[in-house]
């Protein structure tokens, strides 16, 4: 056990000494890995945020229930009662025909005069309904629309789902692009690490030959090379995450400044994603080393 620990400390020493000897190549390699993993994790970060924004908006989904003209008070109360039975529904307000016209005039501003020519008010009265704390997955606006439109006195139900669907489309595009770019970058990172380790093996081939000559096991020769690969990968991932967190800080500040939307949180990668990126770096490093070792050693 103690002999094993001693050997591991020797493996690390050998790996570090090799890194120091070939420091320029390693710096370039770690830099390239960092850039690749940064691009990859930036895509993940963007996807995570778009998803969280959509989820955030989904929690306060709103619908407008437009009423037919000329319905009586009783019918209106029946509609109000029907809305209240819906899970998570909260009536934010009743907008009468007059109020709707007034609002429109307000929106038109100086062009409000256009409405003066109307002989009758064409705008319907409506209930504005918000759905709070509703799980987006179980929220079915289409079904709500169908149910409410069957209630007597309801003319039409409109909901914001259509444009949310478009955002979901954007999220899908981000995911596919992220996966494609991420896949390509992983291949590139693998290629870089493999080549760096190959160079390390070339520069140490005399040393390796002598180690084998004095009875070093295969593992004694291979372990430092695996450590070198793993260190490159993890170091690259750490730098990528560091740069990403700095960019995130700057960018989240700008979002608030530019759009004035303090509620639109620009979250950082979760612990799982952060560890996942580190693990990806480690995995690519080990895999790159294994490929290089496999090509060179046939003991």
């Amino acid at each position: 056990m103690i002999a094993q620990l001693r050997l591991w400390s020797t493996y690390f020493k050998h790996a570090l000494s090799s890194i120091l000897t070939n420091r320029l190549i390693y710096t370039l390699s770690v830099g390239t890995i960092a850039i690749s993993l940064f691009i990859f994790s930036a895509f993940v970060l963007l996807s995570v945020n778009v998803k969280s924004w959509i989820q955030g908006w989904g929690q306060t989904l709103s619908i407008s229930v437009y009423l037919k003209d000329g319905i009586d008070e009783e019918t209106r109360e029946t509609i109000r009662a029907a809305i209240s039975t819906l899970q998570g529904a909260e009536i934010k307000g009743y907008i009468s025909k007059e109020k709707a016209l007034q609002d429109m005039k307000g929106m038109l501003g100086s062009q409000a005069g256009l409405l003066d020519g109307l002989t009758r008010n064409p705008l319907p009265a409506s209930f504005e309904v918000a759905f709070r704390n509703t799980d987006r997955k179980s929220f079915e606006p289409k079904r709500i629309k169908e149910v409410l439109e069957k209630v007597r006195g309801v003319d039409e139900v409109q909901y914001s789902e259509q444009w949310l669907d478009q955002f979901k489309g954007l999220l899908d595009v981000l995911k596919v692009a992220g996966l494609a770019i991420g896949g390509l970058l992983c291949v590139a990172v693998l290629f870089i690490i493999t080549n760096t380790i190959k160079l390390a093996i070339y520069s140490r081939r005399n040393e390796i030959e002598i180690y084998k000559l004095v009875g070093a096991t295969d593992w004694y020769v291979k372990a430092p090379l695996l450590i070198e690969g793993a260190l490159q990968g993890v170091l690259g991932a750490l730098i990528a995450l560091g740069v990403l967190s700095v960019m995130h800080l700057i960018f989240s500040f700008k979002v608030i400044q530019v759009f004035g939307l303090p509620l639109m949180d620009f979250v950082f990668l979760s612990k799982e994603y952060t560890l996942g990126t580190l693990f990806l770096g480690l995995l690519l490093g080990l895999l790159g080393s294994l490929i290089a070792i496999g090509r060179f050693f046939k003991f």
Binding site: A3, R6, I210, T217
Partner: protein, 202 residues
């Protein structure tokens, strides 16, 4: 085929020369004993262990019991004399204090105590070969194989190195030296195996 139909038995503690013209198969025979390449036919048994039945780590561990010395010394130019010798012990996972103690002892035994911190390039050919012998001997091997160990050395240094090999042999290590130097064989009473066209003669 470099060697054919070789039937050879070297006893424990023996001092043997293997000789023959260039290309006779001297190096191949040493490499076969070292387990660096497998025989196409037949068996090689060292200390009761059949080399064709061991591989991987077991073969590596067996190699620690076989020292190997080369004509070109095979020293690491970026390591000091001390580090070059110590690495043969380090690969075994030996304790640092033991590595230091045994390396000092071994370098004293080959007369290089004063040059521990020197780099190979600062040493003469004879001194470099002493470092290589110290490295080969530090794990107390059963066998010491040497491939043209004096090929690059002048006669005086050759004599010194041969004295060193004899003293190693006197301590019980089997020594097998491959050489084509007639000078080396002229005044010896040791066993000489001649390789000619891949066959062994005594």
């Amino acid at each position: 085929m470099a060697l054919e139909d070789i039937d050879l038995r070297i006893r424990t503690g023996e001092f043997v020369f293997i000789t023959g013209p260039s290309g006779a198969g001297k190096t191949t025979l040493l490499r076969l004993i070292f387990g660096a390449e497998p025989p196409t036919e037949g068996q090689i048994v060292i200390n009761g262990i059949n080399l064709s039945r061991v591989s991987g780590t077991k073969l590596d561990l067996l190699r620690r019991k076989i020292g190997f010395v080369f004509q070109d010394f095979k020293l690491l130019s970026r390591k000091t004399v001390f580090q070059n010798v110590a690495l043969a012990l380090e690969v075994t996972g030996e304790k640092g204090s033991v590595v230091r103690k045994k390396t000092h002892q071994m370098l004293r035994a080959v007369g290089l105590a004063a040059k521990e911190e020197a780099y190979p390039i600062e040493l003469s050919g004879g001194e470099q070969q002493r470092v290589a012998i110290a490295r080969a001997m530090i794990n107390d091997p059963l066998i010491l194989l040497a491939d043209e160990p004096t090929g690059n050395l002048d006669p005086d240094i050759t004599r010194e190195i041969m004295v060193l090999f004899r003293s190693i042999n006197l301590r019980g290590t089997t020594v097998v030296i491959a050489t084509h130097s007639r000078e080396l064989l002229r005044n010896t009473d040791q066993r000489i195996i001649v390789l000619h066209r891949g066959k062994a003669f005594e």
